[in-house]
Amino acid sequence: MMEIGLNHYLVLSTILFAIGLVGVMRRKNLLLLFFATEILLNAVNVAFAAISHYYGDLTGQMFAFFVIAIAASEVAVGLGLLIVWYKRHSSIDLDALTAMKG
């Protein structure tokens, strides 16, 4: 119980990933959907760092580093698109996003 092992971190990562998944499924506000995506990426980063520590391998930390870089560029492009969408429709409701519906 007092010894923190790899399983503890994997359980924590799973819980955080589940919270993010619930956010992605349930929210209709596009900005909060972005927040939920950030939670998903952070949950994966915790798993990467924990595996990197317990197997004594630095590749996990490298991947977490690249995940952070990906997340930063995702925010830059996503927020630009969101601003364009808001300027056109004055709403960030996911249900109003029907322009590409067939």
Binding site: M2, N29, L31, V77, L82, D93
Partner: protein, 188 residues
């Protein structure tokens, strides 16, 4: 002992903060809770000995990404409530099943990977930042440079998108109006 206390404390705080993020109806509370959760995530990196990653987490996530989100929130009318109604039941059931399978896979992963050997083992007597630097600029140099170019492209794309004039929307116009718009553009 100390490690266990720190782990449980920060696990509780992180889960609470991220739970607030996905359940609150106020976008500003969600942003603040998310920023706090990001800082608590960096605590796990420090506990795990990944000092460089923890510093990057604080600088990039809570410094840059959260500032960008706060800046973006100024454009939106977040005080107006977005209607939250339940979507398709089948999609939720399907995604929940997928999440359950994911949990099983994650629990099974340490059992099936008993005889893993480290590809880039940690170097003794060297700080974490130095180790990361050694690997980043030898084995992972090309992905590192590609990530740099990707960030540059994303930055330019963000500026171009956000700075665009959006006074007319072609998707909301009918064909006659678009034709008229094109004619005036040709004449002027």
């Amino acid at each position: 002992m100390f490690e266990a206390v720190a782990f449980y404390l920060f696990a509780f705080l992180t889960i609470t903060m991220f739970f607030i993020t996905v359940t609150t109806s106020q976008a500003l509370y969600a942003l603040s809770a998310l920023a706090a959760g990001m800082i608590f995530i960096s605590a796990f990196f420090f506990i795990l000995g990944a000092d460089f990653l923890g510093a990057v987490q604080i600088i990039v996530y809570t410094g840059a990404v959260m500032a960008l989100y706060a800046f973006g929130m100024m454009f939106f009318d977040t005080t107006r409530e977005v209607k939250e109604k339940q979507g398709n039941k089948y999609i939720i059931v399907g995604l929940s099943t997928l999440a359950a399978v994911l949990v099983v896979v994650i629990f099974a992963a340490p059992m099936v990977s008993e005889n893993i050997v480290a590809l880039y083992p940690a170097i003794e007597g060297v700080g974490n930042t130095q180790e990361v630097g050694l690997i980043l600029f030898t084995k992972y140099l090309v992905p590192f440079e590609v990530a740099a170019i990707m960030l540059l492209v994303a930055m330019v794309a963000g500026i171009v998108l956000a700075g665009k004039k959006m006074d007319l929307s072609i998707t909301l116009m009918n064909d006659a109006e678009i034709e008229e718009q094109n004619n005036t553009k040709v004449l002027s």
